[in-house]
Symmetry: C3
Amino acid sequence: MTTVPITETAAPLLELLDLAGVAVFAISGALLAAARRQTLVTFIFFAVVTGVGGGTARDLLIGAPVFWMGENRILLVCLAAALIVWLSPRRLWRGRALLWFDAAGLATYSAFGAAKGLAFGVAPLPAIAMGVLTACLGGIIRDVLAGEPSILMRAELYVTAAALSAAMVVGLLLLGAAPPLAGGIAAMAGFALRAGAIARGWKLPAYRR
Amino acid sequence: MTTVPITETAAPLLELLDLAGVAVFAISGALLAAARRQTLVTFIFFAVVTGVGGGTARDLLIGAPVFWMGENRILLVCLAAALIVWLSPRRLWRGRALLWFDAAGLATYSAFGAAKGLAFGVAPLPAIAMGVLTACLGGIIRDVLAGEPSILMRAELYVTAAALSAAMVVGLLLLGAAPPLAGGIAAMAGFALRAGAIARGWKLPAYRR
Amino acid sequence: MTTVPITETAAPLLELLDLAGVAVFAISGALLAAARRQTLVTFIFFAVVTGVGGGTARDLLIGAPVFWMGENRILLVCLAAALIVWLSPRRLWRGRALLWFDAAGLATYSAFGAAKGLAFGVAPLPAIAMGVLTACLGGIIRDVLAGEPSILMRAELYVTAAALSAAMVVGLLLLGAAPPLAGGIAAMAGFALRAGAIARGWKLPAYRR
């Protein structure tokens, strides 16, 4: 595996997307802790694990330094997410807030994870897998730790939305699109598909043989 | 830890065994998705996670580059496994197909994982553990994600078969046996033990104090 | 991330603490296998996974070589722990032995994990997280594999005790305290807090909005 360092120009965008992905996943983790009436420490633990879990797996797999080790800032984002959910009025998060934050994190992280994989010299198909796995791992770890049934076992479009986002960013980047454009289009496409699943119940056909 | 690169002569054999282990585990993952009436995307996810999960953990632990990152071929094997199970007539997989594929993957991956550990300069005992953990992790992750009770908690011979296979390949290689011979004998011994457990219900005694 | 190698003087202490953490966690894993009436192979598997799970995650995250790969000794400690629990009279482990061994492992591993993180150039906040996550991961993996409800979901002080221990060792080391002193004070503080939780039922307030 050749490890081409990330290009200078793409670095700030990738960093911003990484922080955004961390923040939305951290909030989704803290919201699950709130729904289960947990303590502040558990809020923080879920915010951190959900916030950085996917990106950590991605970095280990592609051979990059784990992105939150060298600085305090990323964990501060997770701590802030936990505190905001803990302190804010409950009606702010009522309804399907958790689902929508999770959807935003899914689409963002998927595009970002796939692009970072390509930037580190990973082949196209594993790069798409990096997007899917890292986008989904945060939520899967959160659900397994909380004893929730994993999203993987439902027919609802979820992993598919991450796959669309990851495949689109890889395709657009290989066709020569500028990273911000490719990432934006891909994340919006993935989010739209997931939004359809949440709002209209879009499903995949199940195996019936 | 000294990281001795894998010898030139053993490389093609190790690569073939790795692909074979991926294929059988990927099929076992897809068969579980089929048994649970899942969607094609879940078939693919289970095929990939079960197919490469064990080897991924092994490579991270021994400090090797993760084996499926630099090429498209290994994920194509997993995609093919998922599609074959999805499209093939159901009676082809009836009965205990899942158990037998899992057994073949267990014995193959265990011998291969231990041999690769030794090749990267790992000490004998951790090399045996590499064989056991990597052979068992694929199936354990698959079962945990599907919410199945883990094989670890049953008295049935399973981990033991992987341990036999891994210990035999390490012992034979340290005694100077040629890698193909050592791997073949070890994998057959582990498979035989697991076959006895499946066909005849061989068990270990449980703790009774 | 700069990876400053561990200082020569602190190395023997860190090594001893690592072995102690492995031993107590391995025993706690074997005791859970005993409580569930498992086989000797499952005793060994739980002893190894619980004994080295936390430290393995820590080493992967901070970019250190995985600590048990280059030698046979650490796995021998886990094997010995499994055998001792298997062979010893059951009344030796009656009552809350599992809880107390887990508490000792929690406080020790947390201080050690945070100190090792700092020694490898990790920033203070991620170093504290390294202590918490690695101290808690052993027990969490053990509970998830056994199908037990995770400690994370209870109001009981557990993760908090690990956080206290990790934060104290990081604070004391940054203030210039000698590593043995800092580690000893921090581990005792964490153990005291966890002991209060076990003996007196100390709890954190849960979310109630």
